[in-house]
């Protein structure tokens, strides 16, 4: 079963129909969707650089690696260096936020912790929550989207209404109030593991309708395709059609929108941390640092810039990669 992907090159006012057949058939043969996409992606330098940054960040966040890099370029994230900080004002005593060979990003105000290592450890939390929450959204969104799109009727109506309800919820407000009322121990988890689980759950759980809508739309159109009709006419069961015919064709949109949802979720996590419901201290999180910085930007502007840039670079990299993936997998959406 080939994926229903239309290859198109030139776009413009008058779309030449010829172009639809414009790719050498021989060249196409034997190439999977993934290979075509990879070919296209490789040509997209911007997306590739985004991908490299993402990869770099992921590698840096691997348990062993973070410690290694910090050991090499910084000091432990929770080690105080109060000799570098003005006791009364709280800001670093040296200019440029106390940036030096020992502290390449400078030090935190008040306690003088190494900002480089804190930003690095913060990446871990951001990525972990961003990716896991996306996973939750994608799983729920895909199941709901396929169910709604494939079965239609009242099932579709019910799910579509549910999505409406979810989309009408004031998310941030809801999330902060919910995090506030959840007890310290739950599901056999506690401390930051519980915090992370809760954040993943809340972010993931409330974002699924975005994926759900897309999947539903795609399923609706796939359902009407010939190959599904064919399978159905041959007496295939629903489960067979869903898993063997429809799901494989949803891989591309799922991949694209997951990649684009990760940065959204990273921003969401940062926002929640900024509002004070992030992970527990002393574990660093980017949003949490910015939250602290609301009190300290006058004495330590670098305390705004460093974690802010970390968020920016990460989110941008994911966005670039996601955009590139979308272009590669679904050129019409460009």
């Amino acid at each position: 079963m080939t994926a229903p992907i239309e290859v198109s090159g030139a776009e413009g006012e008058a779309q030449p129909e010829a172009v639809l057949a414009g790719v050498d058939r021989k060249a196409i043969q034997g190439r999977s969707l993934g290979q075509i996409a990879w070919m296209r992606l490789k040509r997209d330098k911007v997306a590739i650089s985004g991908g490299i940054v993402v990869l770099f960040l992921i590698v840096l966040s691997l348990p062993g690696v973070t410690g290694l890099v910090v050991g090499w370029l910084g000091s432990p994230p929770n080690e105080f260096h109060q000799n570098l900080v003005d006791a009364t004002l709280g800001g670093p005593t040296k200019p440029w936020g106390g940036m030096s060979g020992d502290h390449i990003f400078g030090v935190e105000p008040i306690n003088g912790r190494d900002l480089f290592s804190r930003v690095l450890y913060g990446a871990r939390v951001s990525l972990l929550i961003g990716v896991l929450a996306t996973l939750v959204s994608v799983v729920i969104g895909t199941v709901m989207g396929i169910t709604a799109g494939y079965f239609g009727g009242w099932v579709d109506t019910l799910i579509a209404r549910t999505m409406d309800v979810f989309l009408a919820f004031p998310l941030v407000l809801f999330a902060i109030s919910l995090v506030g009322v959840i007890p310290p121990g739950l599901w056999g988890l506690e401390g930051n593991n519980l915090r992370i689980a809760i954040l993943v759950f809340i972010i993931g759980f409330f974002n699924w309708p975005y994926i759900g809508r897309i999947i539903r739309g795609q399923t609706l159109s796939l359902r009407e395709r010939e190959f599904v009709d064919a399978a159905r006419s041959m007496g295939a069961r629903n489960s067979y059609i869903l898993f063997k015919e429809i799901l494989p064709n949803l891989v591309a949109p799922i991949l694209v929108y997951s990649t684009l949802l990760i940065p959204t979720n990273i921003l969401f996590e940062a926002a929640l941390s900024f509002l004070g419901v992030g992970i527990n201290p002393p574990d660093p999180s980017w949003g949490g640092m910015l939250s602290q910085a609301t009190e300290l930007y006058s004495v330590a502007p670098h305390f705004v810039i460093v974690p802010g840039l970390a968020i920016f670079v990460t989110v941008l990299a994911f966005n670039l990669l996601g955009d590139g993936l979308r272009d590669a997998l679904d050129p019409r959406a460009r």
Binding site: F80, G90, G180, P184, P282, E295, Y297, S298
Partner: protein, 586 residues
């Protein structure tokens, strides 16, 4: 960003009632003297910009709002301070800088109360000719009514609840809102229009303080009482009266009360033509308006925000117009004795604590003074005391060897793990918790930190023994200022086993020490205040010897005094400038 409630009060509804600042005011005891205001911290000990200039508009501003303007329904010091511009009570603080300001002096009463019946009956005689804003005279029954109101906690839920606790009502009394017949209220009797007699359940020797520290004896004409809405327009007996109604979250305007007679009131002045309160103004904006002189007073009185703090401390000109007094709180760390029952383990924590880092968390020398005793310097008869297992030194970073030794004695040479809670919306408490965490980690004591909203912290988390037990909380951040600026007022709620309550518990250590308990039982019988103070200091030491409280810093605030503000001084009783005697120029 700080809301006044967040900053002003640490424990829910506790008021600063300082009796003296001799130990910390900076050595200048020139009480009552004048000054030109061009000196840093001058207003902490003396009146700055002395002037009799009348006229102008005195502007107060606050980011949030009063709990209420009903004098009986306020617990926060800045509110109690402010309501004095329009309300008078039986007794009030002396309007003097330095030590004098902590004394309770007669206001509506002719003289301090006279105790009889073994201090179970307190009698006050009213001054004659004190009038409400409408010209009618204040009578004893109005004060009786005012006290009766405080019995209905569902209406006046913010104010202190001393009267329901102390007064003998002979059974159950629900307050005048439910029981319309005031004669059914037996707690206060009024033999004549100018005599108010309080009948107590048991002896209480500091009743003048009860009567004076809050506005609950400010007379309320029953006919004008609108229950919870009385705060929208409290009837004035002071130098100013409210123009129209007060609008919560917006503000209000007070004008001169022509029926106020300065001759009966030595504690207040009537200098400005108008007093305006603007609520809902951003704290940062208030700071910049203070510097511009377009707002004279930041109502919460807890000090300027981070940005202005930096400006003031780095600019000598601005710094000269600021004061840095001790605000009356002691920020300390209670160690829960139920969850860390072994004293050696608690000692290990105290030994390992990095006092320098904790001191820095509160902003160094401008933010606080490293503390020794639990009682802050403002407490009457308080002695500095000696350090137990720690050092009141801004550079002290803990003694890890001793800590490890204690751990070994505790049977946990490899360290242990416990939980610490703090108020998540208070960066300084978070920084304190982090500082403690990193220093304890050096001796393998692992602290798990968790923040809770300040709105519930002192009632449902730190203040709820059930919660502390369930979540196994070993430590917390806490700040405590007494209603009562005596050793009793400060220490009893935080250390007496009898003071442990299910919610709003101040004895967060849940200390149940036989020695301490016995001293509390005994001290009530001691007549001599000096003798009592000695016992209080022993209790203070005993608590620290038990390693139940890790002292941190006595809070200091950084206040800015605009140049056009006159008669400014730091009032020890309220822990901020005196709001009832200010004037404006220009």
């Amino acid at each position: 960003m700080k809301s006044p409630k967040v900053v002003t009060s640490t424990a829910a509804g506790i008021v600063v009632l300082g009796l003296g600042l001799s130990a910390c005011g900076g050595g200048d005891d020139d009480g009552g003297g004048g000054g030109n205001g061009a000196k840093f911290d001058a207003g902490s000990t003396a009146v700055v910009n002395v002037s009799d200039h009348k006229g102008g508009v005195l502007k107060f501003a606050q980011p949030d709002d009063f709990e209420s303007l009903d004098p009986a329904n306020i617990y926060y010091a800045y509110g109690l301070n402010f309501v004095r511009i329009f309300s008078r009570s039986l007794m009030t603080y002396n309007s003097k800088p330095g030590l004098e300001g902590s004394k309770m002096v007669p206001d509506l009463a002719e003289a301090p109360g006279t105790a009889s019946n073994g201090s179970k009956t307190w009698t006050y005689k009213l001054k004659r000719g004190v009038k409400y804003e409408d010209g009618t005279e204040v009578k004893a029954k109005d004060i009786k009514y005012a006290v009766a109101r405080t019995f209905d906690r569902s209406v006046l839920h913010n104010g202190p609840s001393y009267f329901p606790q102390l007064l003998d009502v002979g059974g159950k009394y629900d307050g005048p809102f439910k029981d319309k017949n005031l004669d059914n209220f037996k707690g206060v009797s009024t033999p004549d229009d100018y005599t108010v007699v309080f009948n107590l359940k048991s002896a209480f020797s500091e009743f003048d303080q009860v009567v004076g520290f809050s506005g609950q004896t400010a007379p309320v004409p029953a006919a004008k009482d609108t229950g919870v809405r009385y705060g929208m327009h409290p009837v004035s007996t002071g130098p100013y009266k409210l123009q129209g109604d007060y609008t919560p979250k917006k503000g209000g305007t007070w004008v001169r009360n022509t029926n106020w007679d300065p001759a009966t009131d030595p504690n207040r002045k009537q200098l400005p033509d108008k007093i305006e309160v603007q609520s809902g103004l951003k704290a940062e904006e208030i700071d910049s308006r203070l510097q511009a002189g377009t707002v004279q007073i930041d109502l919460p009185g807890s000090g300027v925000q981070a940005a202005a703090r930096q400006q003031i401390l780095t600019n000598p000109k601005l710094k000269a117009n600021s004061d840095n007094p001790l605000a009356g709180f002691h920020w300390y760390i209670p160690l829960n004795t139920k969850n860390i029952p072994n004293i050696e383990c608690r000692k290990a924590i105290v030994y390992a604590a990095d006092r320098s880092a904790m001191y820095r968390a509160y902003g160094g020398e401008v933010g606080g003074q490293v503390s020794t005793s639990i009682q802050p310097p403002a407490v009457q008869g308080r002695e500095k005391g000696t350090d137990f297992y720690t050092k009141a030194d801004p550079t002290y970073t803990g003694d890890q060897a001793q800590a490890k030794a204690s751990l070994a004695k505790c049977g946990k040479p490899g360290g242990f793990s416990t939980n610490m809670i703090f108020r998540s919306d208070r960066p300084k408490e978070k920084a304190t918790a982090e500082a403690l965490q990193q220093s304890l980690a050096k001796v393998n004591i692992k602290l798990n930190l968790k923040g809770y909203p300040s709105g519930t912290y002192t009632n449902e988390q730190l203040g709820a023994p059930k919660f502390m037990a369930k979540e196994k909380i070993g430590l917390g951040t806490y700040g405590w200022a007494p209603d009562w600026n005596t050793g009793y007022g400060y220490l009893q709620p935080v250390s007496d086993v009898d003071a442990i309550v299910p919610t709003g518990n101040a004895n967060a250590e849940e200390l149940d020490d036989p020695q301490v308990n016995k001293m509390w039982d005994d001290v009530v019988a001691v007549q001599d205040p000096a003798q009592r103070a000695k016992i209080y200091n022993q209790i203070d030491a005993r608590i620290r010897e038990q390693a139940a409280i890790l002292p941190n810093v006595y809070a200091k605030s950084l206040l800015y005094r605009p140049t056009n503000l006159t008669n400014v001084y730091f009032h020890a009783g309220y822990g901020m400038y005196d709001y009832a005697n200010l004037g404006v120029t220009g």
